[in-house]
Each structure stands twice: as C-alpha cells, then as structure tokens.
Symmetry: C2
Subunit: 152 residues, 2 copies
DNA sequence: CAGTATCCAGCTAGATACTG
DNA sequence: CAGTATCTAGCTGGATACTG
C-alpha cells in the first residue's frame, strides 16, 4: 500500500460496494435515472431556487419551488415529464413534495440533503455545457467539414 | 448591486450567453447529449484509464483506451451504442479517435482537455450514485411502503 | 393549481449479420 | 479488431382531454 493514501481515500476505497460499470449493479440503474435532461434541469433549478430578489438567498439552504414555477423555468417540459420526473425523485429521497390545502391547492418541491448534494454536481454539469458550448460548436464544424471533404 | 459580489461571480454572470433552461438554447441540446448513461460511463472510464497496475498513474493525464477495452469495462453496452456514443463525443471534441494501421487495426480513444474537464464532473456523478445507493434504496422502501398502506 | 389518463409518433437501443 | 448495416420491439415523451 502506498503510504500517500489518506484516511479519507482509504474510506472511499472501502466504500466501493457498488460499481456502475457492472450491468447488474443497482447503481447502474440509479445512474440511468439521474442521467437525462429533466433530472438535470429540475435539480439545477431547485437548488438555486426561483428568481426571487426579495428572498434572503444568503441563508444558503435549498428553497422550495412550486410546480408551476418549475414548469415555467424549465421551458418546454411537458406536464407528464415534469410530474413523472418529480415523482421518481421523490421516491428516491432526492426531493420532498409538500401539499398545502389552500384553494386551489399549493404543492411545493424542495431538495432534501441528499438532493442538495446531487444538485451541486448537476449544477456543475449544466454550467459546463453552457461554458463550453462555443468550443463544442467549433469542434463540430471542423469535424463535419472534414467528413464532407473526405467524400467528394 | 450587492457589493458582496466577488469579481469571479461577476465574471460568471457576464459569461451567461447560454441558458439550458431555455428550450431553444444550443446548450440544452448539448446537455441532452452528455446526459445519458453511456456518455456518463464512457467518460468515467476514459479519464481513469484501463486497469493497468504497471502504468504510471501518477502522471495524471488521461490515458487512451482501445475500443475493446471500453466495451469490456462498460458491461452490457452494445457495439452500436458504444460506437454511436464515441462518434458523437468525437464530433463534439470531447474524445479523440486514433487509428493505428496494425494488422488487425488498433483504435484508441483518448480524452481531450475539454473531455477531461467533463470527466471530473461525470466521475463525481458516478461516485455519487454508488455512494448514495443505500440511502436511495431505503427511501424507496419507505415510499413504496407508504403508497401500499394508503390504498388497502 | 396541480395534477391524472389516454393515445400514439418517433426515437432508442438491442439483436443479428456482414466486412476491411 | 473494430467496426457498418439493417430490422424491429418497446420505451420515451409529446399532445390532448379531463378532474379534485
């Protein structure tokens, strides 16, 4: 064993009970669930909270969002997909669903601690996509250009 | 403007040319592409390199992997999906494809710098899935249990 | 408001067979 | 070895209509 290994690293090593590289591993299925644009976008939205300049964002906690707020922020999402994705996230303990018996009823979704930890990762991916969009677009032009000249 | 905003934050704000929350934004399409289990797993595998105890892992660079190595490590992937996913990653400038004219031909895939930056994020997601598998499983039992007792 | 239910077009992805 | 090509079952997800 290399003595450069920290205690934290050893703990992480020991923790490898699951391996998503294996088809039969439950974590493979979990990875599939959390992959996908809607999970990505919902989690990005929820952790950052709605656009509320009046709210105290400095508290740092994840703020709840209503169904309609989510549906507005995630342009193009269908009711079906939004509901379906939220349900699976609720089942997995990533978000909580709270029904307030007003008239009409108010439903809010909020990240759990588990969800918040995933939010940070998802947010980073979304930011990556936005930051490197230009690079990718440039590469695509080069790639497509080469493919075209190769078959005249 | 709040004067608590740092220079880094301001730079990040200014950089928002793309917004994946918008359906028409190109970054939404990019996000869809890089979502999905195969991209997730390929990028996780590539950056970490193949299982080679003899290799000097300390160099830190992404090491190339052969097509067959990838197909072996990503248990359950079909040829079609592997090839298709690798092509799209190549087109986007995330991996490079190198053909060595041996007999039979040898093809290696390697992360670009762009790909490596994404790898770190993907790797974290894969690790998250594996680390929190137990929590998720527990939540599911609770959720399914409640749903069952609610409709007797 | 926040869903549920249903129908269906279209894409995804697996199986299979063939090739330089 | 590293693909390409083809066929197709089935799932995804959008549109639409209805409800507590």
């Amino acid at each position: 064993m290399a003595r450069t290994t920290t205690a934290a690293q050893q703990k992480a090593q020991a923790k490898v009970e699951y391996d998503a590289f294996l088809a039969a591993c439950p974590s493979r299925e979990l990875l599939e669930r959390i992959s996908g644009k809607w999970v990505m976008l919902i989690l990005s939205a929820l952790g950052s909270g709605p656009y509320r300049p009046d709210a105290d964002c400095a508290t740092g906690g994840p703020r709840p969002m209503r169904y309609s707020e989510l549906s507005r922020q995630l342009a193009g999402v269908s009711q079906k997909m939004l509901t379906q994705t939220l349900r699976s996230l609720e089942r997995d303990g990533i978000v909580t669903r709270t029904v307030t018996p007003t008239v009409p009823v108010t439903v809010t979704y909020e990240l759990t601690d588990l969800g918040l930890s995933l939010h940070h990762l998802m947010r980073a991916i979304k930011t990556w996509a936005q930051t490197h969009m230009d690079d990718v677009l440039t590469h695509r032009e080069t790639y497509d250009g080469r493919a075209a000249t190769r078959s005249p």
